[in-house]
């Protein structure tokens, strides 16, 4: 059961994420919000290889959600139900996509985009190559953090200093990612990518029955808030 998502067609995973945005449009009140979120949560617990990972992603989205609840409550007539609904709507909108995107295998996605959807090969391949570098960002972050600390440019205990430090690190990370991208494009061009206007694909882009089933489930989940109105 849990292999289901891991082996799923990346297009299906992205479709479910996008359908969640459609679902969020139907979230009008606390009841629909809870039902929609509950449906996604049940599906997640049953199907996801690691529900703990989904919880971690939820943490990031919760920050956005809480700030939205607060500002809606403060500015929108201090109505708690309206505020909570707005907050939960964001969770419905973002969480399924944020969790499922993590299970997308970049090469498989490129295969599907290039062969099934027939998008232009070069941008698709470049995108996939960039995507598989995501994991390295965390290590670079650690490196940048350590050098700054060793050279006296680390944060002090004050929260403001920590925030400023994080912003500076994020910028440095961005710059370093751009430089990595340059070196990577040298490597790719040196492997014949520069002149590959048309190219072949080493692996096929299959669509299985399980993919159809998963897509149907995604449609059903997105329909929940629309149907209970």
């Amino acid at each position: 059961m849990r292999r289901f998502v891991r082996d799923a067609n990346p297009l299906v995973l992205l479709a479910i994420g996008t359908l969640a945005i459609v679902a969020s449009l139907a979230v009008r009140d606390l009841q629909t919000a809870c039902l929609a979120l509950g449906a996604y949560a049940v599906a997640g617990v049953v199907l996801l290889p690691s529900p703990r990972f989904a919880l971690a992603r939820f943490g990031a989205i919760a920050v956005a959600s809480v700030s939205l609840v607060w500002s809606t409550w403060w500015l929108g007539g201090r109505d708690l139900e309206v505020a909570l609904t707005a907050g939960l709507r964001i969770v419905v909108l973002a969480l399924p996509g944020a969790v499922l995107a993590a299970y997308v295998d970049p090469s498989k996605l490129a295969d599907q985009l290039g062969q099934r959807l027939r998008l232009p090969a070069r941008p698709v391949v470049a995108f996939a190559a960039a995507m598989q570098r995501f994991g390295a960002l965390r290590e670079t972050w650690g490196q940048l953090d350590r050098t700054r600390r060793a050279r006296g440019f680390g944060p002090t205990r004050s929260p403001l200093s920590r925030v400023r430090h994080a912003v500076s690190l994020a910028f440095a990370l961005l710059v370093s990612a751009l430089r990595d991208a340059t070196r990577m494009s040298v490597a790719m061009d040196a492997r014949g990518f520069a002149s590959a206007q048309r190219r072949t694909w080493a692996e096929p882009a299959p669509w299985s029955r399980a993919d159809s089933a998963l897509l149907a489930l995604g449609v059903a989940l997105a329909a929940v808030p629309w149907l209970v109105r």
Binding site: F53, A128, R151, P155, R179, V186, A187, D189, R191, F193
Partner: protein
Amino acid sequence: MTGSVAFRGFGWRPLGRRTPVVAGLDLRVDPGERVLLAGPSGAGKSTVLRAAAGVLETTGDGDALGEVTTIGRVGMLLQNPGDAVVAERLGRDVAFGLENARVAPAAIWPRVRDALRAVRLPYGMQHPTSALSGGELQRSALAGVLASQADLLLLDEPTSMLDDVNADAVRRCVAEVVAETGATLVVVEHRIAPWLPHVDRVVVLGHDGSVVADIDPVSFVATLRDDLAGVGVWMPGVAAPEPVEPPVVLVETDRAVPRLDALALGVDLRRTDIRGATVTAALRDVDAALESRAVTVLSGPSGAGKSTLLEVVGGLRRPGAGEVRGLGRPPHRIGSRDLAALIGWVPQNPEHGFLTTRVRDEIAATSRRIGVPVDVDAVLVHLRLDHLADANPYRLSGGEQRRLALGAALAHRPPVLLLDEPTVGQDRGTWAAVTGWMRAAAGADAVIGAASHDADLAARADRVVPLEGGRNVAPGPAPAPAPVDDAR
């Protein structure tokens, strides 16, 4: 058919540099030749290779002069093995060049399998590339080159970031591949000796990128040995240079740290990726003593935990178990500024350490931050970077960047110096300057710790702490300098 490349009056000036890195280069490499390209740091060796591969413009803007004619399919290996990875799975990564060459899918996989076998990678097609070590990554990149049936192999310091065992494996694979396919080979490397048996021609570039020698390997060693060692090239049969110490005012510290003791350190490294977290034990119950007035080298193969130990000792990583004594408090609890006044840490990858956009500012940054006056010009002169004082750190060559990172980390004269692979990829001149800095600081009462697999550096150390697999191992016999006839 095998490849060839010809340079006619070739020159290259990167944007923002007043002088070209290469000027007026005339060089022909004929089909089937195996050429070693040597020269001091900053001589433009990488530039020449990139021009031959037709990817010079991809690396950044600049003015190109003359012409470069490349015939045949190009395969390139870069210095940093991670740069070439384009896919999450090994098989797909090796297949990349074949896809670009529009090989039919059915024909791709047998060639990928053959290539992986030729470079002796024992993994399946689904093996994640993120789980490969540096040496294995270089061999998988070589497999990619091999699978694409490249006619012209361009290798840019492919082994400089690897330890001896891995470097040896990569060299052997390259030699086998070239012997089998008859491909043309151009290799750039600081460690010349191990390559000499595999090439039939040696081209030496001077400081301005012009050809100063073009000769067969045997006469090369016989006639040019001492001349080239003099301009900084590591030559077989020439012992490591004497360390060149900077003026004592550049290293004299006014704080005293008598010793640092690492006691029963344990560190788990957590790698989180999409499919969950993997925890590897980087250090297990490791003890190390770093004394002042002494250079202590942490030695061992890659993956031994040398860098992690250095980071824990320097308060840059919190140990999971054990403690570090000697700075009054656990080092990882000391605030950044106070820590900077106590330690100088030279990271292995210099790129991630730069904070400013000018070489001069980079040297002065930490001193200014903690309020210590420093003679920036004298530091630049010792590191032979004085002509680049106003350049952007990111536009320097690999060797120059490493020198700058060293100066930036140590110019404020901390009493504890921690250096991570400080001699990797350095020419003789820089080697002498870097080891000289360590010796001089030791003479001025500092505590010096260096993580390194450089046998010549270990030979100049006062103490060696050998590590393997994250544990202390019994110290071997006193470190001997690498045998002279195979020094580099």
